[in-house]
Symmetry: C2
Subunit: 213 residues, 2 copies
């Protein structure tokens, strides 16, 4: 499976994450089997796209039956490497940082935030969602102790690069950046930007030019 | 310009939002002119992609000089319809909702959150960032009074559809959904999903299969 997995394009990963979200909600509602047509409808894509995406990791469904919801969730999460626990740390305990620390969905999906860092002396020592805020200078030591692999940046834009530098120095290979700033990282580090504004731009554009479907 | 604008693909809009972010940061640093190569580098795309994207709305730069930063920001935001103020309301005053209400970047970029709604009687009447939390039942009346065009959903997943129904009933044509749930809307309503998890999935995948660039 890993050979095939290596070739999953970025856009497919994005859709696979949506499929998992929809499948998990179907599972909660007691659905055990679903064919590609209703699954496609619930995911806002067409059925041939789903079949193509799932074929990346050899998941073709059962003819005349469809996909087994539980199996399909397992296949997708295993192909993406998200069928295990990932330890993360968060830098920047502002409003957004606090909201993410309290967000139940991270842990539910296997992403445990095990450390919260900030350089503000008024925040250090504060406890949020069971975590004590620690000085960012101690990040490297903590990341090693805790086995952290992913860093989340929720600082103001002007501090994002410094936060990234701390994460890189600590040996972290994956960064989720919520700060509205681009950051520079070495080639072996992966960055994902959670940028709210392109969504607002897309909405404005659609409303302005009446491009709603 | 609007004729050309109508054909801007979704992926281009996403990149244009990044260009604006980078250009605004260049502008803050005092840069007045930039050629496509360094702009491309700062945006993590290649220069031919930028030239192609900007050509959508007739922006070609000046040969041997590059792009005028201020003009380019104006061209892009005007082509996307984000060169004016948009009024938005937010439904769901939990941790994430509070963080967004306090997020300065929305207002800076022209998206003013002018109403905060929740159905929890313990939250109604509370003041956050200068806004009084109002019962969701009063959404329709308020949206009309305030001239709101975009709705932001930050409810738990099981209440997202109900929140969407309130927005749709109030005549809103653009919804930004932060709740981890898919929602169903009429054809003339546009929805954007701010889903954190596909980013975490992409990071896990990159780390697992060593796909870092």
């Amino acid at each position: 499976m890993s050979v095939k997995s290596e070739h999953i394009p970025r856009a497919t990963i994005q859709r696979l994450a949506v499929y998992v979200q929809v499948l998990e909600s179907l599972q909660r509602d007691g659905t055990e089997v679903i064919s590609s047509e209703p699954l496609a409808k619930a995911c806002n894509v067409n059925a041939s796209q789903i079949r193509k995406d799932l074929a990346y990791f050899g998941e073709f469904g059962v003819r005349g039956v469809g996909y087994y919801v539980k199996n399909l969730i397992e296949s997708i999460t295993s192909a993406l490497g998200v069928d295990r626990e990932w330890k993360t740390v968060l830098i920047g305990v502002g409003n957004l940082g606090r909201a993410l620390l309290n967000h139940k969905e991270f842990k539910l999906r296997g992403f445990h935030i095990v450390g919260a860092f900030d350089c503000d002396p008024f925040k250090i020592g504060e406890e949020i969602s069971g975590l004590e805020v620690v000085c960012t200078k101690r990040l490297k030591e903590r990341v090693g102790d805790l086995g952290v692999e992913i860093g989340i940046i929720t600082t103001p834009p002007e501090r994002a690069q410094r936060a990234a530098n701390h994460l890189i120095e600590a040996g972290i290979k994956g960064i989720l950046n919520y700060a509205p700033a681009r950051i520079t990282v070495p080639d072996d580090v992966s960055v994902e930007y959670v940028d709210f504004f392109h969504h607002l731009y897309a909405l404005s554009f659609n409303i302005t030019f009446n491009k709603n479907k």
